[in-house]
């Protein structure tokens, strides 16, 4: 087994042992099951009918939990070991800093993917039974995994850039709040108060991973839904629902790589 494979395996084992892993999987599973169970039926509830209600519930669940599920362990991944001295001991072994970083990245991503598969899989099975089309659920699952990878990359990048876990976590939560708040409020304020040009709103929608995720999954469900928002409606109108979904996936994929690679560049650089 190569050092890289050993490091990935160790990271997965560490995640599987950690309390956060079991807790997140359980919360996601229970919430998903609940939403999927009550989301069925034809009654109109809060503006949603039938499977759209179960689907929208899963989308909001993902938006609420997945970024934090990914951010918190990722910000701890390097900062914790740096504080305890474990990182220096590890780097004193016949491995490179790049291997250590990539091992953590791949291992964390795999562990989170497993947690999401467990939680989302069970909820998805119930949702399918209640009428949600499997193809639609597959799109949602793919975007959820991408969203998790985005925040793993952001968290790991911050963990490499900062000197302590406390600082890394603080910055990560500020980033998360900023993306959530600016994602919704920023668009509204820019549109209403300053009359921001339509292209700027379009760009912002894809620059913000939370917005990109929301747009991607909702456009797959129903491009006419009012919750697409003004920017989303314009995008769907221009590139169609499939194009919107592809652009959203591209945005998420870039987010899932760039912060992580920036962290890798810093971590691997001689100190």
């Amino acid at each position: 087994m190569t050092p890289a494979a050993l490091l990935v395996r160790r990271e997965i084992a560490t995640a599987l042992r950690a309390r956060w892993f079991a807790a997140y999987a359980a919360i996601f599973l229970l919430s998903g099951l609940l939403l999927a169970a009550v989301g069925g039926g034809d009654a109109l509830i809060a503006g949603y009918r039938g499977f759209a209600r179960a689907f929208a519930g899963l989308v909001h669940l993902a938006l609420l939990f997945v970024p934090l599920m990914a951010l918190l362990p990722a910000t701890a991944a390097i900062a914790d070991e740096r504080e305890s001295g474990a990182l220096e001991y590890l780097l004193a072994q016949p491995v490179t800093a790049t291997e250590v970083y990539l091992g953590k990245w791949v291992g964390l991503a795999a562990a989170l993917g497993l947690a999401l598969t467990v939680g989302f899989g069970a909820a998805g099975a119930v949702a399918v039974a209640r009428g949600v089309p499997p193809g639609l659920l597959a799109v949602l699952f793919g975007q959820v995994v991408l969203l998790a990878l985005v925040f793993v990359a952001i968290g790991l990048g911050l963990s490499a850039l900062t000197t302590s876990r406390a600082r890394a976590t603080t910055v990560a939560v500020v980033v998360w709040l900023g993306l959530v708040a600016l994602g919704t409020l920023g668009i509204l304020i820019a549109f209403i108060r300053w009359g921001a040009p339509a292209w700027a709103l379009t760009v912002w929608t894809f620059v913000n991973p939370i917005e990109a995720f929301r747009l991607g999954v909702v456009s797959a469900l129903d491009p006419d839904l009012s919750l697409l928002g003004p920017a989303g409606a314009r995008i769907v109108d221009r590139v169609g629902p499939y194009g919107t979904n592809a652009l959203a996936a591209l945005s998420l994929a870039l987010w899932a790589l760039v912060p992580g690679l920036a962290g890798l560049a810093v971590f691997s650089r001689p100190k």
Binding site: P3, T14, E81, S84, E88, P94
Partner: protein, 311 residues
């Protein structure tokens, strides 16, 4: 085995290492001494390739700059404080053995020789192990792959006396051809391990020689404490005065102490034995490393190493 040429390292405006040139032969046991901040840990981190530096550094023929992985394959490392890894002891030993390409069984045997049975302790979480046990684990891991160089960065600094003795005993298992570099603040550790001393000061090597040479340069003396029956105390003092020309006696009520040169301890005990004076107990109290370095090299006394060693 270790070859450094004009090794230098600067943090901001502070030049911690300033042109170190040294050669350590295979099998040499070398102690790295110096006051706090002298650059001992920085030198070890350079040797491991953990930080960039100026100059050239080779270990076992491999360039640390360009071939860090191969260097670290040949180097075992025990830090001052063992990190608390996630997982059990058995998992940790297996992971690092595989990472180092060591035979897991060999590491387990090393651990057993050090008094730690994996069959008994393997299932324990590493976080629950004592500092002494963890240092033994790191030593076993370092020695498991028959390394060419063993780097020890104040490995006993956080251990209690018993754990320290056990760790030092474990060092006897090091192969003869392995070069050992021990950074330490403790005279007793240095005397137990090293036959050559390097003293770092001002970023340079201020002393390179043997312990005897350092003692001689310092002119320093230890206090030899001797406990004899009260009725024999006067006779004992008289005998001691015959071998120590200017004895400086001190007393703590039950024993008397005499300042003697480092190599004169045996003479004192021998003369008491010759006079049939029963020595109930004896021990030596060394000056602190800081005061020894101060006496030998004129370095300022470092409070962190002010405590003497009692052996």
């Amino acid at each position: 085995m270790i070859r450094a040429r004009d090794l230098a390292k600067q943090f901001g405006h502070h030049r911690v290492l300033d042109g170190i040139t040294l050669d350590l032969a295979p099998g040499e046991r070398v102690a790295l001494l110096g006051l706090n901040g002298a650059g001992k840990t920085t030198l070890i981190r350079c040797l491991l390739g953990l930080i960039p530096f100026e100059g050239t550094l080779q270990i076992a023929g491999c360039n640390v700059h360009t071939d860090g992985r191969r260097v670290r394959e040949r180097v075992g490392y025990v830090p001052q404080r063992a990190p608390h890894f996630d997982g059990t002891l058995a998992e940790t030993v297996e992971f690092f053995s595989r990472l180092r390409g060591s035979d897991h069984g060999a590491v387990a045997r090393r651990l057993l020789d050090l008094g730690l049975d994996l069959a008994v302790h393997g299932a324990k979480p590493v976080r629950t192990l004592s500092g002494g046990m963890l240092q033994k684990v790191l030593l076993a891991l370092a020695l498991g792959s028959d390394v060419s160089v063993l780097l020890l960065d104040e490995p006993t600094a956080n251990l209690d006396p018993r754990a320290r003795r056990e760790f030092l005993r474990g060092l006897r298992q090091v192969r003869e051809e392995t070069t050992v570099l021990l950074a330490s603040h403790r005279l007793a550790d240095v005397e137990a391990v090293a036959d050559r001393l390097l003293v770092l000061h001002g970023g340079r090597i201020a002393f390179d020689g043997t312990m005897d040479e350092l003692w001689a340069r310092a002119g320093a003396a230890e206090t030899l404490w001797v406990r004899v029956p009260p009725a024999m105390r006067d006779a004992a003092r008289a005998r001691v005065e015959s071998v120590v020309h200017t004895p400086a006696f001190v007393s703590n009520g039950t024993a008397f102490g005499v300042r003697v040169a480092h190599d004169a301890r045996a003479d004192v005990l021998a003369t008491l034995r010759e006079a049939d004076i029963r020595v109930e107990d004896f021990w030596t109290e060394s000056p602190s490393l800081g005061s020894l370095l101060s006496g030998a090299l004129g370095l300022p006394i470092d409070d962190s190493s002010a405590a003497g060693d009692r052996e």
